[in-house]
């Protein structure tokens, strides 16, 4: 019947067109994928930098750290990325400090701690403890500092603490 042949004809044409479209899209996607991933990573880092040092709007990469400048081109602080051995692997963290070596923010870039246990170090509540602290404060309470460890995740908490302490050590040099 004429109707059935119409339906078949239209379906075939549309299918052909869609295949062409999907094919070309797949091609473009594959070609641009690496670049897009790169941009995403870059954005994450930018975002992370803004989070640990919000006063800065311009970041300049120095030898081993990143300097943060505000709009008037005055230096407002620095960002140090450090690595520390955690429970399940490497922990990479980003610490933002102002000019007086006081911590502004801490962000974890990479970690392999136990899900649900050790990865609680990613918790905002835990990390925000480090904000606005000097070197002397960066110790657990039982050691005279102001940081609370996470119950049940002692090793991960200790690792993170050590990571931040390492940053202070590095800054002193």
């Amino acid at each position: 019947m004429k109707l059935i042949s119409k339906i078949i004809s239209y379906s075939v044409r549309l299918t052909l067109l869609c295949s062409f479209a999907a094919g070309s899209l797949a091609l473009v996607y594959m070609k641009t994928l690496p670049m897009i991933e790169y941009q995403k990573k870059k954005e994450e880092i930018e975002f992370g930098r803004k989070k640990v040092l919000p006063q800065a709007s311009i970041f300049k990469e120095e030898e081993n750290y990143v300097a943060g400048y505000n709009e008037k081109n005055e230096i407002v602080g620095k960002i140090i990325t450090s690595n520390i051995r955690g429970y399940g692997g490497n922990i990479r963290l980003m610490v933002g400090m102002d000019n007086e070596n006081k911590i502004i923010g801490v962000k974890i870039l990479e970690q392999y701690e136990t899900p649900g246990v050790g990865d609680q170090i990613l918790d905002k509540k835990f990390l925000s403890q480090f904000e606005n602290k000097d070197e002397t404060d960066i110790n657990f309470r039982k050691d005279g500092g102001k940081i609370d460890a996470i119950t049940g995740a002692t090793i991960s908490s200790k690792a993170l603490l050590k990571g931040v302490q390492e940053v202070f050590k590095y800054v002193k040099e």
Binding site: L14, A21, S24, V28
Partner: protein, 206 residues
């Protein structure tokens, strides 16, 4: 009418090309595709980026639509248009996301919105579906140039008077903030429309 030196472009070609720029200017005369114009014309960077994206989609879809027009029955032409246009828009989206994250951030949701931009579907339906590939190509170029000129001028005006800076140099230290807000966009478009209407009227009288 300007004279074209390119071999093979006859009068209907030049006509198709010029139509999109002046008499049939999409934004100022046909008044289609206004939504992105208002949203994206707050800076020259956005304006130029958007017009290039639209140009790519418009020219590409015009050409493909024209290519398949003989084999596209009327009943299914709208889905066909949409498939073609959205493919081009997605390609543009990937490319911008990969190579200019800044532009991607600025244009934001208006990139996918190119799919429903009246200019693209409008020219596809009104012209590319009924004309040869060559003419559709020229129409696409002409309309894109018309769109670009308008978007560029508006972007220039709004950035100059609304932000007071051009190419990084501050020109007005206390700019009129209204220009980068929606009212400023509407006012600018209105003024440009008035000028072009006046010009077209005068031309037709002569």
């Amino acid at each position: 009418m300007s004279k074209s030196n390119k071999p093979g472009i006859s009068a209907p070609g030049t006509a198709a090309f010029l139509y999109g720029v002046l008499k049939g200017n999409p934004v100022l005369v046909l008044m289609i595709g206004l939504c992105p114009v208002l949203a994206v014309s707050t800076s020259i960077f956005n304006a130029v980026g958007m017009s290039i994206a639209v140009a790519f989609v418009l020219i590409g879809s015009n050409v493909i639509i024209s290519l398949v027009r003989k084999r596209t029955p009327g009943e299914i032409r709208i889905p066909v248009f949409i498939i073609i246009i959205s493919t081009f828009v997605t390609i543009v989206d990937y490319v911008i996301r990969a190579y200019s994250p800044e532009l991607y951030r600025q244009l934001g949701v208006f990139i996918p919105l190119i799919v429903v931009n009246c200019i693209v579907i409008g020219r596809g339906e009104a012209f590319a579906y009924k004309n040869t590939v060559k003419l559709s190509f020229l129409d696409g170029i002409g309309t894109s140039i018309g769109f670009f000129i308008v978007l560029f001028v508006i972007g220039l005006l709004r950035q100059l008077f609304g932000k007071g800076e051009l190419l990084g140099k501050v020109i007005f230290s206390k700019p009129a903030l209204i220009m980068i807000l929606p009212p400023g966009g509407f006012i600018t478009i209105g003024v440009l429309m008035g000028i072009l209407t006046y010009y077209n009227l005068k031309k037709s009288k002569v």
